[in-house]
Assembly symmetry: C3
């Protein structure tokens, strides 16, 4: 499902993107990520390279205190086992009660009816942010009106693809950074979702936070791909680049749709 953003979308200034990145680097927000076991290590390293502090427990007994003391919560539905099913609602409640942003990434919702149904329930909690690709969006929503209903309640959508689209109640963004080699490394999308959560914790305008976070991650990915010999070396280059990304990097590469 296309989000069908109108032709005129908001421009994103490189200065704003960099200032939000600097805010993450100086505030060092805690991000609690309930994410799939495949993505955990890489996601933690992406958050650390960015300047954030990850925690990742999925134990129902523990998650309340972890989520309540974090600055943002990421829910990623890859490898959705029983523990995660139990734990996710507890974590969302705790984060919402503490006034923290909640980002949901319904990975592979199109590959399992059970996962899709679970994801739809989670959407009823009015998350701050949903990150999905077009296949997942099509599995989750029958009509554009269903998406609009959530947007009107305050959820921002970041729909990734060749062109990334960010849409919320306020400004919309179309973004075009990134590199095909990123798709040859597992969990780049999942780790990207964690970056959005980190940015949402330092900027109340969630669409702006999402557009900035996505741009930072994808620009770092472009630079890393240009320095890599393949998907293996890309991993290290991506983390090194995120760690040291400069205002000039963003200025020279930021690309809108």
């Amino acid at each position: 499902m296309s989000l069908s953003i109108a032709a005129s979308t908001q421009d994103l200034s490189p200065e704003t993107v960099f200032s939000l990145l600097e805010r993450v680097r100086s505030k060092r927000p805690r991000v609690h990520a309930i994410t799939n076991t495949v993505a955990q290590g890489f996601t933690a390293n992406v958050l650390l390279a960015l300047g954030a502090v990850p925690s990742m427990t999925i134990a129902p007994e523990e998650v309340q205190s972890f989520a309540a003391s974090a600055d943002a919560l990421l829910i990623n539905l890859g490898t959705l086992d029983n523990s995660r099913r139990l734990t996710i609602p507890i974590a969302i409640d705790a984060a919402k009660e503490a006034g923290r942003p909640v980002a949901i990434d319904p990975v592979f919702a199109d590959r399992s009816p059970q996962r899709c149904a679970y994801a739809k329930e989670l959407l009823q909690t009015r998350p701050s942010l949903v990150r999905a690709n077009e296949t997942e969006m099509a599995a989750l929503f029958d009509t554009r009106a269903d998406v609009d209903a959530l947007i009107s309640e305050g959820t921002v959508f970041a729909v990734t693809g060749e062109e990334d689209q960010i849409e919320g109640r306020g400004d919309d963004y179309r973004l075009r950074n990134g590199h095909p080699l990123l798709a040859r490394v597992t969990a780049t999308g999942c780790a990207g979702g964690a970056v959005l959560a980190a940015f949402a914790s330092v900027e109340p305008d969630t669409a702006l936070a999402a557009a900035s976070g996505l741009s930072v991650f994808n620009i770092a990915g472009e630079i890393a791909a240009s320095r890599s010999g393949g998907p293996g070396s890309l991993v290290a280059e991506l983390l090194d680049t995120l760690y040291s990304l400069t205002a000039r990097d963003i200025e020279s590469r930021l690309q809108m749709g």
Copy 2:
């Protein structure tokens, strides 16, 4: 237990190996891998570098649809927790019903009687492929006749070691590629098993698929080791090499027993 392959085994042509690799790269098969938590990230990256598309959920509720919509199934018994015990038979049934190859890797069956007993049960499902080392084979089978019984029902064995032996109802292969440094990186064997599953999804002659997949992985390992400063840099080099392995690489290095 040695598979005691007769002296005359089938030669494997580099052209065939490369053509199967190209088939994986163009078909981009989906491989559902129920593998241990230690190996998940690396296995996913190996599959992506190869050109395949991994999925890895172990949730009993979800696995039926994931396994049924995949082109091959890998079952790896490392970190065999309760969820995995419940999920594995569901996944095998779904894959078999969909006519997909099933590869089993009974990791460390020699280290736990419970795991060994579970692995023996799985062997009764007549998997397409069993990948094991000699210690695991000795734990799983009392006599050579027990191995022969499974072979006569269509299972192919890939027994890895200094010399790798592939044996099925049809042609047998002895292979000698690989590098000792691979044993200093976790999950290289596990990820190799996933490569075999990917190859088995594009080639109905499972022994040929296994011999080709193992050769591709081990040749990539050799090249990567020659470019590495140790086991850390080997990981990135291995993925980069798999991603760009050429016909010439295979031709110049393929080595039979």
Copy 3:
């Protein structure tokens, strides 16, 4: 909580540190690590690069035979789910019965009262070694007397920070190696704990083993950081350096407090 080590602590000779490293390399001890899902892959690779042999199952059915046949046991409390809660006491009993050292790493005990309570119970089993940072120590112990009580029963504490302090019934050590970039890679502390467990398996003086293992890991980290472009390349450099660390590396860098 500071361990308040007296000004005069034991010197550690580079020759001793290297001889213990060589002992690990030649004995290739099996280390069973019940560690968090985020840290598993990296911890396994650190152990392999060091020369040890990792296993990591958390299944209650399997862990008895794995722990009993290992040379050391590491318990790390990150991502403390139900399986791990059930499995950890079984593993500790098996390791103690087999006379193997047990190391406990109470990760993030300060972030969850439930985890803290569980960690306190584990301390009652008189582990050989506790690795913790000062925040975790403060969450676990109300008074210095509580620490002393455990020390008098034979537990050695390795409290990491800008200066690392090792304290047991015998000699104490203050160590100053390491590099800030290590904190930007996930699970470096967790993997360091596994290194201590490996060293404790080859040297009965646990404080000496801990001081040597920590020095090896932190010196490798320093060298790796000096060769890295950021936290991504640090991972590969750290493993490569551990794999090939020399007596001269230790001699030229070992630094006491």
